[in-house]
Amino acid sequence: MKKLIVAQSLLLALFFSSCTNPADVPIPVFPQGGFLSQTYPLSAQSKAKLEGVYLLESGADKFGDRVVMKWAGDYLSVFTGKSVGYFVLKGGLLDSVVFLEGYWRYQNSTETGLAQMIVPRDEGGRYVVGDTARTGTLRIRGNVGSGNGVPDQPVVFRYERPITPSLLTKKFQIIAHRAGGRTSDHIPASENSVELIKITERFGSTGIEIDVRLTKDKVPVLYHDGGLNLRLTQKGPMVGPVEEYTLAELKSFVWLINGERIPTLEEALDAVVTQTNLKFVWMDTKTEQSGVITAYVPIAQKALQKAASMGRDLEICAGIPTQEVLDEFLAYPNYQSVPSLCELTPDNVRAVNARVWGPRWTQGTQNDQVRAFQAEGRRAFTWTLDDPRFIEQYIREGVFDGILTNYPMAVAYQYYIQ
């Protein structure tokens, strides 16, 4: 009996230790919509006054010395220099006080929490909501919390200066990988989904990279991996390569990991044109079948025409990551006029008349080569750069025209803080 008790104790120790719950990072929400439900919307003029670089008078241990605040539609994004931290806030006004509510998160871990702030009437509130000039200091005061807990840790932001105007006019692209990040980043929507496309600007993205494959009936869809798997989809009845199934089968029997459906390229580009202000789409070709270029170029051209008719400033480039795709691209009629982004050698870039060269970031800043392409009217985007130290280095010392990243909030911070 004694030996059994010993054995059971040892094995129960193993069993209790053998599992952890998966780290899920749901977006914290205020109950009943928080205080914002009782406020009035902010005007575009008021929003513009809040954008800028702020010093942290309180909360620097959590968010660093400075942050950048920038609007993406109705959402105020706050980009910090610590732990790839950021806020996504919505704003409202009541009686000359600006209210900001939302959440904060460290994108490279699972820490997140609610955030609740105000711009007090006498510390910039009147200035933000009215026509008066700013007198005194603009401060944003509030609290942050942990998870859905009540925010109780003070943070105070003091306005320092506006974002350098040339940074806003220069067409530097912050391109979100897989439309906004990876499943392992615990993003609030699935990779390569329309739902993620709609919210990616809140993370600082000005462009997206999407992964395009062909279904069995030659319809281009967005999906990164080679097969239907539990990383990207919920467990369902269908397994195996995406290319084995028709669009009807994928749409009927497959759900992405957060419950969305696999989008067609047409649906995705339509969302980009009509529901975002994104400026750049990088269509990465991810298929072992031939015919991808032929399938997706007309769809991209149709989206560009729609964007032009709406006055949208948008570029959609066909990605050329491998020699096989390059060969197929060169066989496409009038390929020289098809906007493309070539990841291969400089000679390949010129051969296809690519608009953009896309070298891997580990090949260095390559300033001479980048400048040579810029002199030819081309651009250079590097990929996939996630380490904040290298993001800072490449922005300060490099001359790239854009960075593809899983952490657009980190790139946004380093870029707009200049």
């Binding site: 080679g226 539990l230 990383r231």
Partner: protein, 244 residues
Amino acid sequence: MTNLKPLCTAGAVLSICTMLILHAAPAQTLGTTPGTLHYPVAIDPKGIKTMFAVSFSKMPMDVVEESASIRWPLFTLEAHYGLPENFILNGRINTQIITNHLLLGGKWVYAPYERLHFSVGYDLAYWFGQLKQYGFNNTAHGWINYPNLTVGYDFGKVALSVKGELNIVTSHTLYADDIEVSTDQNFFNGGSFTVYLEQPLWKNTTVSLAYRSNFLKFYYPEWLLFPTINQFYFIPELEVGFRL
């Protein structure tokens, strides 16, 4: 998101099976321990015990993405050298060809009862990896500390040991295309629990069957894959070892 429920069920099933299996080990005079390696028992001074083992790990899909989650095996050669006063010097080489892990440490065995033994130990390891083929140009290296505690029970013909160890990284550097892409120092990387069942298989050859639960931010055998995420991952491992 990795579904851990099947893995947890596997852990439960293994635990229950092991409990059943232990009924096959009736109380007998001690016979197992000379052949064991992991069971905490003192070795005669200048005595040596060695073992060869193979282990397979299951990586989280978030880390491996499209690659196979059951990875290439890790081969282990381990030796224990007896010192006076119940001390043991232990060394280990783990290799996966592109990754190598060299460990040296010591432990002290405490045997308060005839069949129930403990050991407390500290290991230090240097690991390095290199892949310069198939389009890769990546290298990495680091130092890891493993303070550990083992408790074991000798059933007579089967020895059951449970080892808990912490994983503390004192340095960790990754290079890609000659750029130092990542360097970290002095961080708590998690820990592991391992259950060893050791018993003779044929003649005097002892076999060790082990199940290891790793909870780590960074798992050195898969250094090529690890993303820039600051969270713990559950990585189960199965190991089969043979005494040499």
